[in-house]
């Protein structure tokens, strides 16, 4: 998987950890690599979860060329079907801040800060924040961040529901790997379908969402993972050897 110009990829058991090859990039730099990477992740049956390593900090700027200014990175991240985690450190602003919003589990260091100041730019440009942030931290807090450009620190980020947990800089990667290993211990079919049901279900009427949940569950009925897990339960054995089939 080392065919990317802007990503460094490491494999951990049934997961991958992705880092940017430099900390300061433009959205169009990342877009084409990320597009390719998302497809690779989605169609690789050996990848059950994905983590982004931003523990050295990261910044994403708008494309210099106006033709590429509307390329959406967050839509690509939203398209990753497998659970996504990220480890964050430092000052996270604007496009970089938007990039982490679609992820499923976010860990940061004590000295991380988060802000959006697009409102003060002449060329107001958002990549999902106006839609994702209110869903994550609630409408009032999202308005404060987007309309007033306020900075929040790591503790506020936890209390707002933006960050799952805070740790120190030297422990952040270990904690992320620990969470990554926890989720790849579960059946990848179950985690992907659960993620799909939560994310897509939020966009359709609840009753339709509940029926979709039934449909996804019915697809799982025929999977080997489920049949073996239920048989193990009936035989009072633990089952931790999922194959994703």
């Amino acid at each position: 998987m080392n065919k990317y110009n802007f990503f460094k990829i490491k494999k951990y058991k049934k997961s991958v950890v992705i880092a940017f090859s430099k900390n300061n990039m433009t959205a169009d730099d990342i877009y084409y690599d990320l597009n390719l990477l998302v497809d690779d992740i989605n169609f690789d049956d050996n990848i059950w979860a994905v983590a982004f390593d931003f523990s050295k900090g990261f910044q994403i700027h708008n494309a210099d060329d106006d033709r590429f200014i509307y390329l959406s990175l967050t839509e690509l991240v939203m398209n990753i079907r497998k659970p996504t985690l990220c480890a964050i450190n430092g000052q996270i602003i604007n496009r970089a801040f938007e990039f982490i919003l679609p992820m499923d589990y976010r860990i940061c260091t004590q000295n991380s800060t988060f802000s959006m100041n697009q409102i003060s730019d002449v060329n107001i440009q958002f990549d999902g924040a106006t839609q994702l942030l209110p869903r994550i931290i609630g409408l009032n807090k999202a308005k404060e961040m987007i309309m007033f450009g306020i900075d929040i620190n790591s503790e506020e980020a936890v209390s707002f529901g933006l960050i799952n947990t805070i740790t120190s800089e030297d422990k952040i990667m270990n904690l992320m790997i620990e969470k990554l290993l926890k989720i790849v211990d579960f059946s990848p079919l179950a985690t992907q379908y659960t993620k799909e049901a939560i994310n897509f279900g939020n966009e359709i009427p609840t009753v339709q969402g509940m029926k979709m949940e039934n449909d996804l569950s019915s697809i799982l009925l025929s999977s080997n993972d489920r049949i073996q897990a239920i048989n193990s339960f009936k035989n009072k054995k633990s089952h931790r050897n999922f194959k994703g089939k």
């Binding site: 659960t194 609840t206 009753v207 949940e213 039934n214 799982l220 073996q228």
Partner: protein, 236 residues
């Protein structure tokens, strides 16, 4: 009418259903779900009843679906049809009158999801909550992937459903899954019934309309919002 796995009482405009399958940790089996569906449909058209309370007869609220019944279905198509079109949980989501649940001990899987289909949840300090589905290569099937999102922040939904993280009563209160916790169980029961009586004193038609509006407020579409965001950005 005697029920095998539930107890049902009706008094002063309040319906009270107790989950009663203590030999199997109050798990939901097929018969229990059918009994619940029948009672709930009857309550929904009973004009005397203004509010419904759920609780359990044993030390745990419910251990969720009875996994011993899994892998015994006649066919996937049949199973899907029953799940979709005879769905107790959809009936509960669409149940028009207020639902109050009282929980203690474990609320696991469908038991936890039943609490999320309730309008108010009061918990004993012994309460613990878990969605273990991903551990057994299952996904929630009692509306969990839909109802949690409506009640708590996205981040906690993923912690609970994707990472299968266990919660205690304090954390459940902190993140907004339960309305209130009580150390003294009899005080909790007392509080729930006082609360139910208070609600039942409000005009039923008004309550039904307000509940529908509040539930409707959670129906939204992010892709439309995302497109609108892009259109607005381009036009600035």
């Amino acid at each position: 009418m005697p029920w095998e796995y539930i107890k049902y009482n009706k008094k002063n405009n309040i319906a009270h259903i107790e989950l009663d399958n203590s030999s199997k940790k109050n798990s939901f089996n097929i018969i229990m779900r059918e009994e619940l569906k029948e009672v709930i449909n009857a309550i929904s058209v009973d004009n005397d009843i203004k509010v419904l309370i759920f609780s359990s007869t044993s030390e745990n609220f419910s251990s969720g679906a009875d996994l011993s019944e899994f892998n015994t279905f006649p066919s996937i198509v049949k199973s899907n049809q029953i799940a979709k079109y005879k769905n107790l949980w959809i009936d509960l989501y669409q149940f028009e009158k207020p639902i109050i649940s009282l929980t203690k001990g474990w609320a696991i899987g469908s038991g936890f999801e039943l609490l999320m289909l309730s309008d108010f949840v009061f918990a004993h300090t012994s309460s613990k909550f878990l969605m273990p589905e991903v551990q057994w290569s299952l996904i929630p099937i009692s509306g969990g992937t839909q109802t949690f999102v409506n009640k708590i922040k996205d981040l906690y939904v993923k912690e609970i459903l994707l990472f299968s993280e266990e919660l205690n009563a304090d954390k459940a209160l902190k993140i907004g899954l339960v309305n209130c916790i009580f150390e003294d169980y009899s005080e909790l029961v007392n509080h729930v019934f006082i609360y139910a009586e208070k609600i039942s004193s409000i005009d039923t038609a008004r309550l039904i309309k307000i509940k529908k509006l509040l539930n409707f407020s959670t129906e939204k579409n992010i892709y439309f919002g995302k497109r609108l965001e892009e259109i607005y950005s381009r036009s600035l």
